[in-house]
C-alpha cells in the first residue's frame, strides 16, 4: 500500500476521497434530515447537461458542471417552494432533460469522444492536482457556511414553521443548502460518478443518525464513515482490479445493510 501511495494518482485519489467525504458528511446530513434526497438526485443527474455544455463550449467540464448544476439547483429550489404539490414531477423532468441535453451536446462536438462512463461512474484515480485545488475551496465554502448558520440550518430542518415564526430567512437558507448540494455533487461526480452520488451522500448520514444525538456529531461521524468507505473501496478496487466508484458504493451499501440488520435484531 505504501509503495502504491507513491504513485501520484493514488495520492490524489486518497486526498480527493477525504475532501469529498467532508462535504458529503456535512451536506448529506442536511439532505437526509430535510428529506431532499430526490432533489439531490435531480441535481446530480442534471449536472451532466453542464458537462455536455462545457465540452460543447470548450471550457473545463468540472467548471461547466458546477455552473450548470448550481443553476439547476436554484430552479428546482424555487419550483419546490412555489408549487409544493407538483415539485417532484418538475424535478423529475429537469433530471432527465439535463442528462439528455448533456448527451446531445456531446454528440454535437465534432470528432470528440467523451469518456461518458467516467462521469457516470466516477474516476477517482484520474483526479488531477488542479481538480484537488478546486475541491479545497469548495469544501471550505461548505464547512464555513454550515458552521456559521449551523443553528439556523438545524432549526429549519427540524421545524420549518417555527423557524419562519422566529424570523429566520428559511427560503434563502433552503436555496443556499441546494446550491451547496450542487457544489458537493460536482465534487462527488469525480469520485463515484453522478449515478452513484446519492449513495455516498445518504448512506453515511443514514447510519450515523442512529448513533448520534446531534446534527454536528452526525456530520462528523458521516465524514468519518465516508472516508472509511472511500478508502477501503479504493483499496479493494486496487486489489481486485475493479471499478473504483462502484466498489466504494458497494462497501458503503454492505455496511448500510449490516447496520440495518443489526438494527432489526436489536429491536426484535
Amino acid at each position: 500500500m505504501w509503495e502504491a501511495l507513491q504513485f501520484d494518482f493514488l495520492r490524489n485519489a486518497v486526498l480527493a476521497g477525504v475532501l469529498v467525504s467532508i462535504s458529503c458528511g456535512i451536506i448529506g446530513t442536511l439532505v437526509v434530515v430535510n428529506r431532499i434526497v430526490f432533489i439531490s438526485g435531480g441535481i446530480a443527474h442534471a449536472a451532466y447537461g453542464g458537462i455536455g455544455l462545457a465540452f460543447y463550449l470548450g471550457v473545463p467540464p468540472t467548471f461547466g458542471a458546477a455552473v450548470f448544476s448550481v443553476a439547476v439547483s436554484i430552479v428546482m429550489g424555487l419550483v419546490s417552494l412555489k408549487s409544493k404539490h407538483r415539485a417532484d414531477t418538475v424535478i423529475g423532468v429537469l433530471w432527465a432533460v439535463g442528462m439528455a441535453l448533456g448527451v446531445v451536446l456531446v454528440d454535437l462536438v465534432p470528432g470528440y469522444n467523451v469518456d461518458l462512463m467516467s462521469y457516470l461512474f466516477g474516476s477517482i484515480l484520474a483526479v488531477s492536482d488542479s481538480e484537488l485545488w478546486l475541491m479545497l475551496p469548495l469544501d471550505a465554502v461548505i464547512v464555513l457556511t454550515v458552521a456559521i448558520f449551523y443553528k439556523e440550518f438545524m432549526a429549519l430542518s427540524y421545524d420549518e414553521d417555527f423557524a419562519v415564526v422566529v424570523g429566520i430567512p428559511v427560503k434563502t437558507l433552503y436555496l443556499a443548502l441546494l446550491v451547496m448540494t450542487a457544489l458537493c455533487v460536482v465534487m462527488v461526480i469525480r469520485v463515484v460518478g453522478l449515478i452513484l452520488v446519492i449513495a455516498l451522500l445518504t448512506i453515511p448520514p443514514y447510519i450515523s443518525e442512529k448513533y448520534t444525538r446531534s446534527i454536528s456529531r452526525m456530520m462528523v461521524l458521516s465524514t468519518i464513515l465516508g472516508v472509511a468507505f472511500t478508502l477501503s473501496g479504493l483499496w479493494l478496487s486496487y486489489l481486485f482490479d475493479l471499478s473504483s466508484g462502484a466498489t466504494i458504493i458497494l462497501v458503503a451499501g454492505a455496511v448500510f445493510f449490516l447496520s440495518y440488520v443489526i438494527d432489526l435484531l436489536g429491536n426484535g
Binding site: F149, K151, V165
Partner: protein, 253 residues
C-alpha cells in the same frame, strides 16, 4: 394607549376553492387570554397560522402589536399542534428550547450565555430540566409538548400562541399547564386553541368560536352562558353549516 395585541380585519382565506375563513374580524387587547374554540376543520389552525405570518390572507389585514405578523415575529411565541414529527431527528430537549432564542437579528451568531440561561430557565418552568440532554425521540408525547412550550417561552414572547397544547399531555400536567398559563398571563397575552371547554371556562378571559366566520366574546369573566355557547358553538355550526349569531341568552347580558 397600548396597541392591540392582535387586530384582525375582514380576513378571508381559501385553499384553492375551499374557503376556510370568511370575513373574520376581531381585536384582542394586550394582557388578554383568548381561548379559540370550534369544530375540526373550522379554520382554527389556519387563523393561528395567519396571525403568525405562516400564511397570508387573501383579503383583509392582520396586525400583531401594530406590526405585520412577520415583522412582529420576534415578539411572539408559538407552540405547534402535535409533536409527533421528526422523532428520529438527532436533537436534544435543550437544543429545541434554544431554538426559541433564534431571531433574524442574531442570524449566524453563536448562542450567548443569556440564550442558554433563558433556554434552561424555560425548560425548568415546564419541569423538563432533568431531561435537557435527552434525545427528542426518547421523550414521551407529553414531555415533548412541554419542551415545545419551553421553546416558545424561551423567546420571551409578548404574545404566546398555542395550538391545542394539551392534546398529548398527561392529565396532571394539563391542569398544571393552564394554571401556569394563567400565571404567565400577568405579563403575556395568550391565545390558545383548545377543545377543552372546561379549561376555557376556568382560565380564559375571552372566547372566540371559529367555523369559517368568527364570533368573539370579550367578557371579563366566564359565565355559564358562555360555557353553553362554547359547547353549543361547534354543535350548532355543524348542524346548520352556516355561521350562527350569538346565543340570545348571551346577548341579554
Amino acid at each position: 394607549m397600548k396597541l392591540p395585541a392582535v387586530q384582525v380585519e375582514h380576513v378571508c382565506f381559501s385553499y384553492g376553492d375551499n374557503q376556510i375563513l370568511k370575513d373574520v374580524s376581531f381585536t384582542l387587547e394586550q394582557g388578554d387570554f383568548l381561548g379559540i374554540l370550534g369544530p375540526n376543520g373550522g379554520g382554527k389552525t389556519t387563523l393561528l397560522k395567519l396571525m403568525l405570518g405562516l400564511l397570508k390572507p387573501d383579503r383583509g389585514s392582520i396586525r400583531i402589536l401594530g406590526e405585520s405578523p412577520l415583522d412582529a415575529n420576534h415578539r411572539v411565541g408559538y407552540v405547534p399542534q402535535g409533536t409527533d414529527f421528526n422523532n428520529n431527528f438527532p436533537i436534544s430537549a435543550m437544543e429545541i428550547s434554544l431554538m426559541g432564542r433564534l431571531s433574524r437579528s442574531h442570524l449566524g451568531r453563536f448562542y450567548t450565555r443569556t440564550d442558554r440561561e433563558k433556554a434552561r430557565e424555560a425548560l425548568a418552568r415546564v419541569g423538563m430540566i432533568a431531561h435537557a440532554d435527552t434525545h427528542v425521540g426518547r421523550l414521551s408525547g407529553g414531555q415533548r409538548q412541554r419542551v415545545f412550550i419551553a421553546r416558545a417561552l424561551a423567546t420571551d414572547p409578548e404574545i404566546l400562541f398555542l395550538d391545542e397544547p394539551t392534546s398529548s399531555l398527561d392529565p396532571e400536567f394539563e391542569t398544571d399547564l393552564y394554571s401556569f398559563l394563567k400565571e404567565l398571563n400577568s405579563q403575556v397575552t395568550i391565545v390558545v386553541i383548545t377543545h377543552d371547554i372546561g379549561a376555557v371556562s376556568r382560565y380564559v378571559k375571552s372566547v372566540a368560536c371559529v367555523n369559517r366566520s368568527l364570533i368573539f366574546h370579550s367578557e371579563g369573566k366566564i359565565t355559564t352562558e358562555m360555557l353553553d355557547m362554547a359547547y353549543a358553538c361547534p354543535v350548532d355550526l355543524i348542524a346548520h353549516g352556516v355561521p350562527h349569531r350569538v346565543l340570545p341568552t348571551h346577548e341579554a347580558k
